[in-house]
Amino acid sequence: MVGQTLIQKILAKASGKETEGVVENEIVFVSPHRILSHDNSAAISKTFYKMVGPNGKIWGPEKIFIALDHAVPPPDAVKAGNHTVIRKFVKDQGIKYFYEGGTGICHEVLPAKGHVPPNVVILGSDSHTTTHGAFGAAGIPIGRTETASVWAIGETWLKVPESIKIILDGSLPKGVYAKDVILEIIRQITAAGATYNSIEFYGSSVKKLSMSERMTLSNLTAEMGAKAGIFPVDDVTDEWNKQFGFQYDRITADEDAKYIKTLELEVSNLTPRIAKPHKVDNVVPIEELGKTTIDVALIGTCTNGRLDDLEIAANILKDKTIHPNIRLLVYPASQEILLQATREGILEILVAAGGQIGVPACGPCLGAYGGCIASGEKAISSANRNFKGRMGSKEDTGIYLASPATVAKSALAGYITAEES
């Protein structure tokens, strides 16, 4: 057997080829441990019935995960009706893992509810399904019709990807976070630089990253075109998994596994990074960004809406008030995080500073509801995309991506800054 990377081992296992292994570019057929979808489940269900007929049944009701999050609570009757279709589908098909609007963002809820053991394949009808690589799984994004097909027949084809190794060494300086690291990686690899590849994370810094920070990194591998972004299981993963009692082996890549590219990054001297409009790889060190005033500051999303993110923001905003020209929007990534932030007094600080707290869900990240920007406005956001028009208007707007700390500091100042005011 040729040396196997993490993705090769995971795909070999999922396709029953553990003994012989798989080679790059081989086509394998894989049945997922879970298949994730969200508000798009209404459209997927229509396609599903086209495939199976009006009385058709789903392949594995206990494999399907649906969380309502992309327009929650629904801002209009059309989007409310979309949710109605999904609830009926869930009931008719006996889908086991359905999470009502307000539970949280799909990529936060899936692992938090114990659906992501290591070494499995998670398919998801959402491009940020790569997030689940943080847990040592292969989180692989697919489209709607393909999701409908997996619902119907229980498997899909996958090409075994080539892999990229990223080695992170050193300790993050004060004020620099996981988000800054991954933005710097995207700057170097570029938006298309990992297309069809799987990314693996190694190095001394990785051992110090929490599960939440790993999720930020894996989440953003999608913005380099990656098929997956995986952290090998270590003590941090084991500790997280204790709550679920998962039984698993620690899979590691073979010594002689092949990588098409290796990127080494020393993080000790890194400064905060900003992704400027309208591309995620348009990244600059914050010191190179000219004075940029903003109108909206968003903390939340599947990239950076977790408890540690809210806490970092609260530590910056404590006993302060945001700039009068700014609307600070805070979307905790899940109900559990919202509850915990309430108990710990984090929420009180954020509200007292002038923050508007949203229902745990995607918020204005995709411009469907909940704080869209108007023409002529600029936003700083802890999200993952800064595409033209993404948060609302496309006319004379711009989205700047940054860490929650930089978002909070900018909300105080009224312009983008990493200095504490």
């Binding site: 009706g81 979309n82 709607r144 090409k159 938006a191 995709l366 995309r385 033209k388």
Partner: protein
């Protein structure tokens, strides 16, 4: 499979994302393909939907269809009349979505460059473009470009007319 190029839309920029092809504000509304077509490329080129005709093709740069997995970014162009997209490269999910909808994609940096450079010439002569998907060949004027053929599995889905038809056939076989 043969296309007569009614019109060639040239978007040479890299990384054209699915948000500008089909904006997020419409993604969670139940729309028919024709309704989706009305928003095609709305945030990128507002002239497109007014002027696009059945059979037009798109020529693009690298990483066309980057970003969100939304399949409407394929469906809306198809419903608007686009018969084929030629690009230097495609984003992974976009490529899969296109196979699943049986929208022909051609990966050819040389062809993308050739058409971009000879745009005026090609448009005035209403040049025919022949695309042979089985052999991965594209002919335009007297130039022949080769492009990577689809893997067998992807080709089966494409030839079935997309994944809906493919899955239907598979289900019939298993019963």
């Amino acid at each position: 499979m043969r296309f007569k190029s009614q019109k060639i839309w040239i978007f040479p920029e890299d990384d054209i994302n699915t948000d500008v092809i089909f904006p997020g504000r419409y993604t969670y509304e139940p729309l028919t393909p024709d309704e989706m077509a009305r928003h095609a490329l709305e945030d990128y080129d507002s002239k497109f939907i007014e002027e696009v005709e059945e059979g037009d093709i798109i020529v693009a740069g690298n990483n066309f269809g980057a970003g969100s997995s939304r399949e409407q970014a394929v469906t809306c162009l198809q419903a608007a009349g686009i018969s084929c997209i030629i690009a230097k490269s495609f984003a992974r999910i976009y490529f899969r979505n296109a196979i699943n909808q049986a929208l022909p994609l051609v990966i050819s940096p040389e062809c993308s460059d050739f058409i971009t450079k000879n745009k005026k010439n090609l448009l005035s002569s209403k040049e025919k473009i022949d695309v042979d998907f089985d052999n991965g060949l594209l002919k335009i004027k007297d130039k022949v470009f080769s492009f990577p053929k689809l893997d067998d599995q992807a080709l089966q889905i494409f030839k079935a007319g997309g994944l809906v038809e493919y899955t239907k056939t598979r289900l019939k076989k298993s019963t």
